[in-house]
Amino acid sequence: MIQYIVRRVLLAIPVILGILVVTFLIARAIPGDPCRSALGERATEAACEAFNQRMGLDQPVLVQLGIYMRQILLEGDFGSSIRYSRPVSLMLIERLPVTLELGVSALILAVMVGIPAGILSAVKRNSRIDVAAMVGSNIGVSMPVYWLGLMLAYVFSIFLKDTPFWLPPSGRLTAGVIAAPFYKVWDWQLVSGSLGAQAADFFSNLVLFNSFITGQWHVFSDGIKHLILPAVALSTIPLAIIARITRSSMLDVLGAEYVRTARAKGLAERAVILKHALRNALLPIITVVGLQTGTLFAGAVLTETIFSFSGVGRALFDAITGRDFPVIQAFTVVIAVGYVAINLIVDICYAFIDPRIKIE
């Protein structure tokens, strides 16, 4: 088991290096002078020279790649945004928590609804429930996220205006609603700029988490209200896909011989499904859940744009339209590495669910 996990982790390393190489190549491939695209068109010759030297642009490509990797891997230095003249790492501390909350709630929604729907569908195969669920999920995967977002915003903020169902169409919190960071509430003394302070900032930027642990309930409920529409929009595609894979995986497993054995033992149908079948069906499901985090990241770009959420997706989009290359590069690396990490976790989960993995 340990060996399996270590091996999985080791296997992820070349992929992460590959990600760095790809982002490096993309940055190199962007037409134009790298200095000017990093420092802006009006950068002076001297500034460019200094920049080139610092980035090692006067050296062979391989050396440059090495420098780039060293900066990210060893120094955690992602460079600075051109547009905002701020370190990208600072932007990550601000932006990532927003996307995390959005993504995690969407994922929870997708899993909590998708898996039961899929199970129900598989168990009641060809029933009306099944047909409805599958038609629904087919429509779900075919729907443009941003369109759904716009429609939801229209329905819940305009159509249902003046009803209890009204939901805000944009923003993370209502204007003026600000949560005091937990470390201020608890009066922690943090050395500003230190790793601890950065971590504290990161966690206090998780609006729901921060307001929950400090009991700022008006902020919490406001945050939830603002989160509902984007999370629902974002969860649609993963939900539909999870429901479908759950159904087909359950159908596979329900046809398996050990399920027949379980039934032959006299196990009640509910136990057959929830204990014997589901545990086995879970393998493809968690794979898909892992893969769907990619959809979530991508969907976040669109959803955050629609709902004026200041997460990484929105920032990435702004950076792309603004050709803010250090931000594009850094955010892409972070998202891709996060994606790899999630799929690594999925792989490791396998080992806990499926005993056959251990002897691999």
Partner: protein
């Protein structure tokens, strides 16, 4: 071999069982009116080639037929109670405690994500109020009984860590855990290697002699029947074509199909230049022709020029005491005397 006469009420009485599969291409009559009785403690063999409906029959008894299959008619009386009338909840109480089942592929019949100990313990837990500890102890005891070496440790093993033979022993242990009245063994040795098959057959023989459980033994291998069964029914294309005590049937096979089957199998130590052959193929069970289902492949029909075979389906009639056959050769019908000679020719085979 002790032939137990079924004078008392049978343990299991199957009447006119029909299980059809509703496929895209039409209705497949997998089991089409099967009747048989199993006495207590009896080993009842059900033999036939693949697709003849023997496995579907066994699943029908357990009411475990999957869609698109459906039991459309008949009765399955277990000690007089019709299982087909029970609610699904009642049926789960019967399964595992009164009737249990083992399958052809022992390794894939065990759930890969639970230890075998857990899977046996589960049987106790479903049907009895029993402490975890007692159940575990009993499970280990069962494993020892079916010949698993070092059962305490093996109880912690996962199915993939077992060999096929061991897995089948586990399946047997699980099936016998609650001392059911009836065990359905669906091709229990087919997937196993020869030497392992011998071990399992030996185990089953031992169990037959030491428990009160009746067995329905489903197989395509006449040798397995010869080893274990008290009584045997031969199935062809969804119907029982011949049924009798095992010795009687092996001594004196009546149906041309049974005769052909026996002649087509090479027998160890009994070499002959050519094997007897049943020409043609098993008919499709969708869109069946009228008449006897074996008619198209039946040499005797040609030999005796029986036209009725292709028009009317014969009934299963008792030819000898306890020896039934479904064939026009043995039945009287309009203007025809059954050519008994056909069977007399084969009488001496052994």
């Amino acid at each position: 071999m002790s032939t137990k006469k079924t004078t008392t009420q049978p343990l299991l009485d199957v009447q006119n069982l029909k299980t059809y599969f509703y496929t895209d291409d039409g209705v497949l009559t997998a089991v089409d009116g099967v009747d048989f009785q199993v006495a207590p403690r009896q080993v009842f063999g059900l033999v036939g080639e693949s697709g003849c409906g023997k496995s579907v029959t066994s699943l029908s008894l357990m009411r475990l037929v999957d869609t698109p299959g459906k039991i459309v008619d008949g009765q399955v009386l277990l000690q007089g109670e019709n299982l087909l009338d029970k609610t699904p909840a009642e049926m789960t109480k019967v399964r595992g405690s009164q009737i249990s089942m083992i399958f052809q592929q022992p390794k894939s019949s065990l759930n890969p994500v639970f230890t075998i100990g857990d899977q046996i313990v589960e049987v106790f837990k479903i049907h009895e109020t029993i402490s975890e500890k007692d159940a575990r102890q009993q499970a280990v005891e069962l494993l020892r009984r079916v010949g698993i070496p070092d059962p305490e440790r093996k109880a912690q093993a996962y199915p993939h860590e077992l060999s096929g033979g061991q897995a089948q022993r586990v399946m047997i242990a699980m099936a016998l855990a609650l001392k059911p009245r009836l065990l359905i063994a669906d091709e229990p040795t087919t997937a196993l290697d020869a030497t392992i098959q011998a071990q399992i057959l030996d185990l089953m023989q031992d169990l037959r002699d030491t428990t009160d459980t009746a067995v329905i033994l489903i197989t395509h291998d006449l040798g397995v029947i010869a080893e274990l069964a008290d009584r045997v029914a031969v199935m062809y294309a969804g119907k029982i074509v011949e049924e009798g005590d095992t010795t009687a049937l092996f001594d004196k096979p009546l149906h041309p199909y049974t005769q052909g089957l026996m002649g087509s199998i090479p027998v160890l130590g009994d070499t002959k230049e050519r094997l007897e052959v049943i020409p043609g193929n098993v008919p499709s069970l969708i869109n069946l022709q009228p008449g006897c289902r074996f008619a198209s492949r039946c040499g005797a029909r040609v030999e005796h020029n029986l036209e009725i075979c292709t028009q009317v389906e014969p009934d299963l009639i008792e030819f000898d005491a306890g020896h039934k056959v479904r064939c026009w050769l043995y039945q009287e019908h309009a203007g025809h005397t059954p050519p008994l000679k056909a069977f007399a020719d084969k009488k001496d085979r052994k």
